[in-house]
């Protein structure tokens, strides 16, 4: 092999080794590790006692489910069919693995040994105001972790509305069905 072809081969190989450098430019991607910051995180946590632009949350009813310290008993958002459907979807993602699809408290994780949550259809829970449900999702309750970081506020209210719908559905009687639709239930 003469010098010329040696250099040719070597530079082709060198080019190939440029690859990773050009592929990983010196910028951070979400949740990347960083050597610059003390805690090793490129994604910075919010500084204590600051409010992000657009993040001011003065509406206590909407963001805390409370009014003057007491839990509220009306959902502070318009309840529509779309919202209920969103609530069902979010409930199935975040809650059904423990509480079960019907809210009985026998989800898959419970069958694998997690503490059994109470059924939503107990009288005690049926009497709770909606604010209580919002509060449990936001802050957790006993053995249950809070979901504030994973479920945005509007979705939390949608889940609350859907839980109410579940409670109604499990305690419905034939009188709740519009007269015109009753025959369908009786299979006629």
């Amino acid at each position: 092999m003469n010098a010329r072809s040696f250099f040719l081969t070597a530079s082709v190989l060198l080019l190939a080794s440029c690859r990773q450098d050009m592929h990983d430019p010196p910028r951070y991607r979400p949740l990347a590790a960083s050597e610059f910051f003390g805690d090793g995180r490129a994604s910075r946590p919010r500084i204590a006692d600051t409010v992000a632009r657009g993040g001011l949350r003065l509406d206590k009813r909407l963001y805390k489910g409370r009014e003057g310290g007491a839990l509220i008993d009306t959902i502070p958002m318009p309840v529509t069919r779309k919202m209920l459907e969103r609530g069902r979807q979010r409930f199935d993602i975040y809650c059904s693995i423990c509480h079960g699809q019907l809210g009985d408290g026998d989800g898959m994780v419970v069958q694998r040994g997690f503490r059994q949550p109470p059924s939503y259809h107990l009288d005690r829970l049926r009497r709770q105001p909606v604010g209580h449900y919002f509060d449990v999702i936001t802050n957790g309750f006993g053995a249950m972790a809070g979901y504030a970081s994973r479920v945005p506020v509007e979705d939390r209210w949608a889940i609350v509305a859907y839980v109410r719908a579940l409670q109604l559905s499990q305690n419905a009687t034939i009188d709740d069905v519009p007269a015109g639709d009753r025959s369908k239930l009786e299979g006629r």
């Binding site: 082709v12 592929h23 693995i97 898959m108 694998r112 994973r150």
Partner: protein, 216 residues
């Protein structure tokens, strides 16, 4: 003086000029093959992780939805990797003493991040966005494969430009109804050609092949 070269060297010279072409072509082919090999693209190589987290157990075993952990996948470019608190919403009680989960508990106690090794890694000059793909009906499994059957995560597709374009040129071959995006065992109920054509109209899916879509 005797001749240095025997007349037969003429043939050798001709053959080597001719053969050089093949050699150069062959070299290119080999480089191309290396470029597409698992060694470079990382396809099918399971990465070691600080905790041997199994999608197989959590997704098909327990039935947890992708979004329980990858919360931002519908709305953002980044799918999101679960925080330690997410693991601990179950593992405070399940396998709470398992040594396998010690790194998770240590991270929970100290507030120090778990350091997962990236499996899919596009070059920095490529822009990718999960949100749009979820909204237009591209299933997780179309790009990531049967995640629910992976004891350890590996990359199913090359993530080469060629691979992205294959779908961007003909999205109708791959799209599915939006509600089915997170289903791992989805099978089209009707002929994919008809379904695809209908969905492309309904979701107004464009054929995005301009360079500036991905290189911006």
């Amino acid at each position: 003086m005797a001749q240095i070269f025997h007349p037969s060297t003429n043939t050798i010279a001709r053959v080597s000029i001719f053969g050089g072409l093949f050699f150069a072509g062959g070299l290119l082919l080999v480089l191309n093959e290396i470029n597409r090999s698992p060694y470079v693209t990382g396809v099918n190589v399971a990465r070691q992780q600080p905790v041997p987290f199994s999608h197989k157990h959590h997704v098909s075993g327990i039935g947890i939805d992708c979004r329980y952990c990858h919360t931002s996948v519908e709305t953002s470019s980044f799918a999101g990797i679960p925080a330690t608190e997410t693991c601990m919403s179950c593992h405070t009680q399940i396998w709470a003493d398992s040594p396998m989960l010690e790194p998770v508990r240590a991270s929970f106690r100290t507030g120090e991040s778990l350091r997962w090794t990236r499996v899919h890694d596009l070059p920095g000059f490529v822009y990718f966005n999960h949100g749009i793909h979820v909204k237009k009906g591209v299933g997780c499994a179309t790009c990531h494969g049967r995640v629910d059957q992976m004891p350890l995560m590996y990359q199913q597709n090359t993530l080469n430009m060629e691979w992205c374009l294959e779908c961007h040129r003909e999205p109708e071959k791959y799209v599915r109804p939006r509600e089915e995006v997170f289903r791992m065992d989805y099978q089209p109920k009707e002929d994919q050609r008809q379904l695809g054509a209908r969905l492309v109209k309904e979701y107004k899916i464009r054929k995005l092949t301009d360079c500036s879509v991905c290189h911006r």
